[in-house]
Structure formats: C-alpha cells, structure tokens
C-alpha cells in the first residue's frame, strides 16, 4: 500500500526540470547566426560583460550590463518621465556606461496591436532602422517599452522565416543608407534591472523589508514570444516569469500573490483607444481591488508604460465612486532607484502619478515634505530662467 505521506506530496517537492530541447519553438539564436553566415544580415553581439539568464525551458539569454542604447517608450516619456529617468539614474549610480539616443523612431506597435495600422515591411523597417542606429553608436539596444520589446521579437520571427520580407526591409534600409542589423538578443530594460538586482541591493540605502508589494507582469513581456521571458526555479516554481518579483525579492520586499496575476492591466490596446471605460473598470475591478482584497500591498510594481499608466490613472475616477482603490503604482526602475536613495520627485517624478504615494514614502521613512520643498526650490530656478532643465547634479543635491 502507498504510504499516506506520499499522498501529501507538496508542490515544492515536485521538481520541474527545464529542458531546452522541449521548448515549443526553435532557438532563434541558431537561425540568426546562420543567416549572418549566409550574408543575410549582420548580428550585433551582446557586449561583455553580460549576465546569462534562463527562460522557462532552460534556454539561455544574454543580458548586457553596460554599453546599452536606450530605446525609450513614447507613453513613458510623455506620461511618466520618472520611469526612464530612473533607469538612467541607476546606470549612472552603478557606474555603467549607456547611451540615451535622440534619433530613435517610434516602433508603431501600439497601433499595430490595436489593429489600426501598418504592414510587415513597414514594421520590420522601423525595427531594423532602430537596431541599425544602435549598432552605429556601438551601444547595444535595450527596449524600455514591453510592447516595442514584444513586437520586435515577433518582427524578428517574421524576418527569420520570410526571405522576401528581409529583402523588402533591406531595400528600405538601403535607401536610408543603413545596413540590416539584428541584435543577438532583444532585451527589455526590466531584464537589465533583473540582471543587476544584486548590485542594486548592494547599494540599497532605504530599508524595504517592512513593505509588501504585488507585481503585474506586462502581457507583451511574458505572453508574446513567451518562451523568451526570464524564469527562475525559485520563483513561482519556475512556472511564471520571475521578472520584477526577483528584483523585489533582492530588495527585501515581501511580494504577495493574487488571483488575477495573469490578467491584463486593462490597457488592452484597442480598449484603451476605443473603449476606455472598459479599460478603467477592468484595471480597478480585476486588478487593483483584487490585489487590495487578497494581498493588501503597500505598492504595485510593474514594468511597462501602458501598465503603469492604466493601473495608476484608472484609480482616479474609481476613487470618486468610493471603490477600494488608492494603491501606488510605479515601475521596478523607480522602486530600485528609490531603494538606492534617488530623489522621489527630481528623479522618480512621482508627482506625475495619480495615486497618492505619500503613505508609502512615509512607511519607508522618506521625508516627502522635505523632498517636495527641494523640488519646488529647483523648479523656481527654472522659472527664473537661471536654468532650462534639471541636471543630474541637481538630482543629487
């Protein structure tokens, strides 16, 4: 007879053994390299030193640490500028070389995923134009927006498998005087944060062990070309992407689960454009309220422009209806910067966020009134014409 104890085997005792041979798709590395050998394109190699991460199936991916070319996000720069500022601030504080280009083109993926525009050759040309621009600087592209990130990976799949598309895109780039260049890896900025999370923890000056957090993984990070997303055996049994969670764990934060973890933030692309009320309701009722009821977090951390804006700004109207909202939302880069002592307004620019972050700052022992006064003082200098914009030196004052 089978012993009773055997019947009670727990999930933690079940060992999932990732096997790259069992991945549902081919390994793009091999094909990308083969096409380079055939003269189809040039591969932009990940600069050393890099960190190797694994996906759900044990396949490796190289994440560059420095010499990174930052492909920014339209909505991020427009709605939550502290998001990308925090990424750059982290690079500077960690002493890592990076490039903040001024000649990047929008990826057009938002309209594509909203079924609104574009065609394969146009999308391929935009992607490869940006990759070529990165290669010309010698810095390796790193993508801030999860939608651009996911879209570029889908575009890569198309370019890998459709020679006619490669030809069309090559012709477009030739008119721009550029070569067809594909990066060895397509890297999301949060993968870089994941890769340097231990360095961030080494420089941590704000104790975060007293706070709890929930995370929201961006659909376009872990559902598009899902086998490329980072997984770790010690996070969710290796079954769900460990992105963000692993970073928060390194910072000592209590990360709590909730039952709609896998759901969209509500953005939905077409929904945010043509059915925004649905987006707002979904964000509040399916995400924020569920988190608050089940996990009662101090903060919600995510890693994409659309997710931060939707989850944060959707709470505004809901508050008027006395819904159970009021959960601060920020990116992993902002929280990591905060942990390393970044200024909450000059760097994180939390005043752009709709939800009240002051209770969180108070719980972290950060004097937000003093910080706000410092920020206002800096703004006065801009108003007086003494300076046009804040500098990194201003941020560290």
């Amino acid at each position: 007879m089978i012993p009773h104890s055997a019947l009670l085997n727990k999930a933690k005792d079940r060992k999932y053994e990732p096997d790259p041979a069992q991945a549902p798709t081919e390994d793009y590395h091999d094909i990308v390299d083969q096409l380079e050998k055939e003269g189809e394109w040039e591969v932009h190699r990940v600069p050393e030193p890099y960190v190797e991460v694994t996906n759900k199936f044990g396949r490796k991916k190289k994440i560059p640490i420095q010499q990174t070319w930052h492909h920014k996000s339209c909505g991020q720069c427009g709605h939550i500028p502290g998001y990308s500022t925090s990424v750059f601030w982290l690079n500077r504080k960690l002493g890592l070389d990076y490039n903040d280009p001024t000649n990047q083109t929008s990826c057009t993926a938002w309209n594509y995923y909203a079924s609104a525009t574009s065609n394969a050759a146009a999308q391929g040309a935009v992607a490869m134009r940006n990759f070529a621009a990165a290669k010309e600087t010698g810095y390796f592209p790193i993508i801030h927006c999860a939608t651009s990130f996911g879209h570029y990976k889908e575009t890569r799949q198309q370019l890998i498998h459709i020679p006619e598309l490669r030809r069309d895109v090559r012709d477009v780039l030739a008119k721009l005087g550029r070569k067809l260049v594909v990066p060895e890896e397509i890297v999301h900025y949060s993968e870089w944060v994941h890769a340097v999370r231990d360095k961030i923890a080494e420089h941590q000056v704000v104790d975060m062990s007293g706070i709890t957090a929930t995370i929201h993984p961006a659909c376009h990070y872990h559902k598009l070309v899902k086998e490329d997303a980072i997984h770790s055996p010690d996070v969710y049994g290796g079954q769900r992407s460990s992105i963000i969670t692993s970073t928060l764990m390194a910072l000592g934060i209590d990360v709590r689960d909730y039952s709609t973890w896998n759901d969209c933030c509500g953005f939905g692309f077409r929904h945010i454009l043509v059915s925004r009320d649905f987006s707002r309701s979904f964000a509040v009722q399916r995400k924020i309220e569920v988190m608050k009821e089940e996990a009662d977090p101090d903060v919600l951390i995510t890693h994409d422009t659309g997710c931060v804006t939707t989850l944060d700004q959707s709470q505004f109207a809901a508050k008027a209806h006395n819904r159970n909202v009021g959960l601060p939302v920020m990116s992993d880069s902002q929280l990591a910067a905060l942990a390393m002592g970044a200024h909450p307004y000059k760097v994180l620019q939390l005043h752009w966020h709709s939800t009240d972050v002051k209770p969180l700052l108070e719980k972290l022992g950060i004097d937000h009134e003093k910080a706000w006064a410092e920020f206002e003082e800096a703004c006065k200098r801009l108003e007086s014409g003494a300076a046009q914009y804040l500098t990194w030196e201003d941020c560290d004052d």
Binding site: M1, I2, H4, A6, L7, L8, N9, K10, A11, R14, Y16, E17, P18, Q22, P24, K56, F57, K226, Y236, G237, G238, Q239, R240, D257, Y258, S259, T260, W261, N262, E294
Partner: protein, 353 residues
C-alpha cells in the same frame, strides 16, 4: 540453422504480451527491462484500476508477469539496458549492459515496446501551476491516491468537496507542438471521476473538456455512467489558468457552451496529462536507426495494414512506442509485432537451410 532468439525491449504490458506470445509459439525470447521490476508504466505510476473495466492494475500486471517469469523460453533481464545494436534482419548483434557488465547477444528480430511517458505539466502553455500549488495534481497522482483508497488535498490532508479534471493538458496543443490526441486521457478521467465519486459521495466532480473522446464501447462503459449514475458534471471549455484564492483553487477559463468566461472554485484540480514518447523509446529509435515521426515516437511504415513495421527490416515496434495507445491497442499491437518477429526469424532460418 538454429533460430536466433527474439529481443523484446520493455517490460510493460506490450513487452510482456509480446514475450508471452513469442514463447507460446515456441520461440526463444530475451526480454530486456531497464527497471528492476516488470509492469511498465502501470506499475511505475501506481495505477489503481485499468480503463475501462476497472480491473485492479497491480493484479493484472502481476498476472502478465507470471505468464512469462517461469516460462522456459523467456529469458528475462531486468535492471538491464540495450547499449548497442548492429546487423540486419535475422542476424542482429545487440549489446546489453547491467551492473555485472556487458554481454553481446545474437538476435534474430527485435520488438520495441518502450512505451510513453506522461506529459510534464511544467511545460504547459496555460498556467495551471502544477509546481506551485499543492492541490493541483495529475491523473497519475490521483491514480496513486485511488490505489491507496484515500483522496485528500495535499495542502491540508482533507478530502476535497469540489474536484475537477482539465482535459488535453499536453495534447491537442499546437502551441507546444503536440497536436495529437493522447487517446486515453478522456477515458481515464471519466474512470477516475467515477472512482472519486464512489470514494467521496459528497464531493462534486467536474470535467472541463474540449471534446470528450470516448472510443468504441467506452462511451457506454464509462462516459454515460459517469454522468447518469455518478453525476459527474461535464463542462465544455478550456481552463486558462489556476490561481489560489481564499484557500481554494480558482479555475478560470471559458465555458464555450454558454459562451462566457467562467471562474470556478475548486479544492483539487486534476490535470489530464497526455502521452509523449518515453526517453527509452527515443533512445532505442536512435540506437536501431529507426525513423521517428515529428513527435519523436517511432514511425511505422506499413500504414493501416501493418501497424508494427519500422523503417528497419526485422525491428518492430508496438504499444505506445509508436504513438498514444490505450491498453487494448497496446496488447493487440504487441501480438502483431510478436507474429512478425517470429516470421522474420523463421524465414531467416529456412533460407539458411
């Protein structure tokens, strides 16, 4: 010329049946099994009862083993593996290895009965959390509980009040490349649902399915009784993810009959994992130079009229080594492979005079 023995690789139901058939006709057979016991997956995975007749699996496997264990023409080598093979039909040289060392065998024909392995739900495309949640189990795990006569939630040791099966986990799934139906999971789930209801009459049991595939008599033997007699609820729809909520599992997906999303609380979820070629099947296919199909099962080349011939003359495959198969099919194909292997050996001997 003396007829060379026939090599049977695999000591599960198909391998034991092939060996029994060969010996009963009066030919010598060497049965190689890598584990130290016979019985194959039903023994390894602690099957409780066979589908569809509810016969005690242990008793059935013991009966099959007894039929060959003392047979003078059956040479059983357990804890042994095949490590090399060369030659051609009628004259193979096969190297086998066990702790005591290597041995070369002169073999006339080969029957591969190396079977399948259950799909690892860690590779699923949905989010079912087998490695996250204690109370998410597989058909195999539940089979073990049924064998012990006790179905309890691993999280707290309590019997479930609500239990569901999710069908087609690792089967009929283009995302992971297993487009095929594993044939047996629907029947096994229906059988297990009846066993759960017998054991726990107060437990509500659900089966979420794409299509229930009840071949032949299974329709009447297990499908209708599970609904009509044992009140199992069948819900057409695909579950997309499972999360914990309020100490229970929340199964979410789409009820396609009602055309709406569903969220259903459960105490236990049973993933109906499908079949994939076992490591042994893939290894033997490579070792004997056999063609495999895109799923890495051994490819048979004879179409519908010859279900056991492989791409190498004199090597035959049966059971679930050639694709998903239920027990009835496995036993039938084992007999067919045995007959063709005997024919190969006999023809070789006759040709040699």
């Amino acid at each position: 010329m003396t007829e060379r023995p026939i090599l049977v690789v695999g000591g599960g139901p198909a391998g034991m049946e092939a060996a029994r058939g060969i010996a009963e006709v009066g030919y010598k057979v060497v049965l190689i099994e890598q584990r130290d016991v016979l019985g194959g997956t039903p023994e390894l995975a602690n099957y409780a009862a066979l589908t569809p007749d509810f016969r005690d699996a242990g008793e059935a496997m013991a009966e099959m083993a007894a039929a060959i264990q003392n047979h003078p023409d059956v040479d059983i080598r357990t804890a042994t593996t095949v490590t090399n093979a060369s030659g051609q039909a009628g004259a193979f040289e096969v190297t086998v290895e066990k702790d005591s060392g290597e041995e070369k065998l002169d073999i006339g024909a080969v029957v591969l009965a190396t079977g399948f392995q259950h799909f690892d739900p860690g590779r699923e495309t949905q989010q079912y959390g087998y490695y996250e949640y204690d109370d998410v189990l597989t058909l195999v795990d539940l089979e073990k509980m049924l064998k012990a006569g006790e179905v309890v939630r691993p999280s707290n040791g309590e019997p479930p009040e609500r239990l569901c099966f999710i069908q087609c986990v690792g089967s009929r799934d283009r995302q992971i490349g297993n487009e095929y139906c594993s044939k047996v999971c629907c029947g096994v789930a229906a059988k297990e649902s009846i066993e759960v209801r017998k054991l726990l009459p107060d437990c509500k049991v659900f089966i979420f399915y794409i299509d229930m595939r009840m071949y032949g008599y299974w329709e009447n033997e297990i499908y209708w009784p599970s609904q009509e007699e044992y009140k199992v609820n069948y819900v057409k729809g695909i579950a997309t993810d499972i999360r914990q909520k309020d100490g229970r599992l929340l199964v979410r997906g789409e009820d396609t009959t009602m055309g709406r999303p569903m969220e259903v609380p459960m105490d236990m979820v049973i993933l109906s994992v499908g079949m994939e070629p076992s490591a042994g099947t893939q290894k033997m296919a490579a070792l004997f130079g056999l063609k495999m199909n895109k799923y890495k099962f051994i490819e048979t080349i004879g179409g519908a009229l010859n279900t056991v011939a492989t791409s190498v003359d004199g090597v035959f495959a049966c059971g679930a080594s050639t694709g998903p198969a239920d027990l009835e099919d496995s036993i039938s194909s084992a007999s067919a492979a045995a007959m063709k292997a005997i024919a190969t050996v006999r023809k070789t001997a006759l040709a040699a005079g």
